[in-house]
Symmetry: C2
Subunit: 365 residues, 2 copies
């Protein structure tokens, strides 16, 4: 028996959609969860405040979500939600605030959970409903059941996963991505593409995830040359935002694979942004997949608008240079962490021990 | 603001999935809703009984759903659910039992609703949850929020629609389609293809519905030659069942269009099975769409494995002959009903008054 698809998030799209959305359907009190900058800079936070005000919804703002948020931050956000007697959460930002809001929703509803017990503790009460508003086109978190958090207890990122964590609604307005610095726009686009490709080469891929992955690869892949040249217009931003949402729907079925497992230590130890960290290993996925499904690789290349794996590699490098090199000892540590990652063996090609070290050897100083 | 996607049904697939499914998650008492024949013949009803027995779930069977079920039948099924104190419904069969179960779930939870007030009455209480098990590969009803019922008050089929009507789970086992008579297998496949194509040419099409429609057209379209020759193996049956589910997901976003509006009177007055009734008009859709989006038509043809609209027409006719001819007066009545159908103007090409009559003129004795 195979789970073909399950994704209960309602996805709404369009300029001004936050202002048109009926937040009152979720209650009279809420907590806004965001980071310190992009929610304000993008204009999304103002739009949310205005929309909530229109419905006389009482709200407070928790804006202390850092990049790669820790379990402790999420716990603090959960306490803020309880203090506010919030009936729902509005999450605004990139992957960090969106993921943090999910753990916060868990904590808010389950007083007995602590940062120590989050991953092992039982979620007795349903987490608060979340309305997710992405301000980057990459995470896909607005339509997934995952929260990827930094857990210093295991010195890595760790994924919290539950069907209860799907946001109830995702509101996609590409206007909010206009203020993204170009290197973040690029890194997040590669993250989104990586979701689609990892899902497409997953053992858990289904007809439904394939349909969505193919569309996502087409939408994001064809935008890469423009990204590489720093040319982004409104239509392209919309394309990337929808593409990244599709990538999220894909991994909601399949999960990610080794690209993410290997990217996490680069983010944890080297502070390389998540999307860029994936860019270090995404071309490897296609090269390895050639060994087991040439057809699928060729379809992927065609959808992305390139002819060969080498061309794909060049294109990714133009979008994310991946020019950081590591000490041998560190590189070997990252290979070890990657090899033991939870998602490493989820792809139709399972990297061997040697593959895992080969992937890092390229990046030794 | 555009609704890109909302479909909360969990879709499970695979041989024996009914036996592996945890029905106890939905309660301790249930009503099985099915027709008189196919649920038994296919083996699905036995599988459901055994599965429910395993969890000690008390159940009764309402097996009086006729083809093209009336609102009255659904009301009776709703009363049966109340008598049984059912906490959920298991719907087994083709589109008729699946659609009937949705209205039954409405009636069961809302005592004040009657056959007279169903379409206008308020649904105060949430309808019972439905586990849907299709035994044909066509309806897609297992993943939609629609119940298409025969309403003699308006002498036509009429659609009940609510986001509360999505089944909680769809269980897809292609084994249940083995006992389908070939002409029903063919007609239902054309129905499924029609969902994908109507959605693809809908004004409400979104990137998500397009992704699903393209996959559905590929899966069903490429199976048509085998259907025409009466050759169906297990792999093809699975392909058709998943394709028809995808078609359902498509129309859950877009609704249907004029093909369905024109098919309904042929079913109501001429007793032509629903899928075959669609086959009378599906080729017209592509011909008309040529006037507004040649690109989309060409993509559709390519996905279906044919080169021209004429080839598509021939292929559909080989699957469903559509050889019934009507009295002039009747044909004109069907054109009028079609022209006034609720879905007639939902496509990117809106048929003119003349188009509506032209579509029927071909079928005059």
């Amino acid at each position: 028996m195979e789970n073909l698809f399950f994704n209960p998030t309602k996805v709404i799209f369009g300029r001004g959609c936050v202002g048109e959305y009926d937040f009152s359907a979720h209650g009279k009190r809420c907590l806004i969860v965001c980071g310190g900058k992009s929610a304000r800079l993008s204009g999304a936070l103002d739009d949310v405040r205005n929309a909530l005000g229109k419905f006389n919804i009482a709200f407070s703002v928790f804006d202390r979500v850092e990049q790669n948020p820790t379990v402790e931050t999420c716990h603090a956000a959960g306490e803020a939600a309880r203090e506010q007697k919030a009936e729902f959460i509005v999450a605004v930002g990139g992957g960090s605030p969106l993921d943090a809001s999910k753990a916060a929703a868990y904590f808010a509803a389950n007083v007995h959970l602590t940062p120590e017990t989050l991953y092992n503790g039982e979620c007795r009460a349903k987490p608060l409903p979340i309305v997710a508003i992405p301000t980057t086109a990459g995470t896909g978190s607005e339509v997934t059941q995952y929260a990827v958090l930094t857990n210093h207890r295991i010195s890595n990122k760790q994924t919290l996963k539950s069907p209860l964590l799907f946001p109830v609604t995702a509101l996609l307005d590409a206007e909010y991505t206009v203020t993204l610095p170009p290197h973040i726009a690029n890194a997040t686009a590669v993250d989104a593409l990586s979701h689609a490709i990892e899902g497409y080469f997953s053992k858990s891929a289904t007809t439904v995830s394939d349909a969505l992955a193919e569309k996502a690869m087409f939408m994001i892949g064809r935008a890469l040359p423009s990204l590489a040249e720093g040319r982004l217009d409104a239509a392209l931003r919309e394309r990337l935002l929808v593409g990244s949402m599709l990538g999220g729907m894909v991994i909601s079925v399949t999960g990610t694979s080794f690209v993410h497992s290997f990217g996490y230590p680069l983010t944890y130890y080297e502070n390389i942004p998540h999307g860029e960290a994936n860019a270090y290993f995404l071309p490897d996925l296609l090269n390895y997949a050639m060994r087991v499904s040439e057809n699928r690789v060729n379809r992927t290349l065609r959808l992305c608008g390139v002819k060969t794996c080498d061309e794909f590699f060049e294109l990714i490098r133009r979008v994310c240079p991946c020019d950081k090199l590591f000490e041998r000892e560190d590189a070997m540590k990252y290979a070890r962490v990657g090899e033991n990652g939870a998602s490493t063996r989820r792809g139709i090609y399972e990297p061997t021990h040697d593959d895992c070290y080969d992937m890092l050897r390229k990046y030794i100083k």
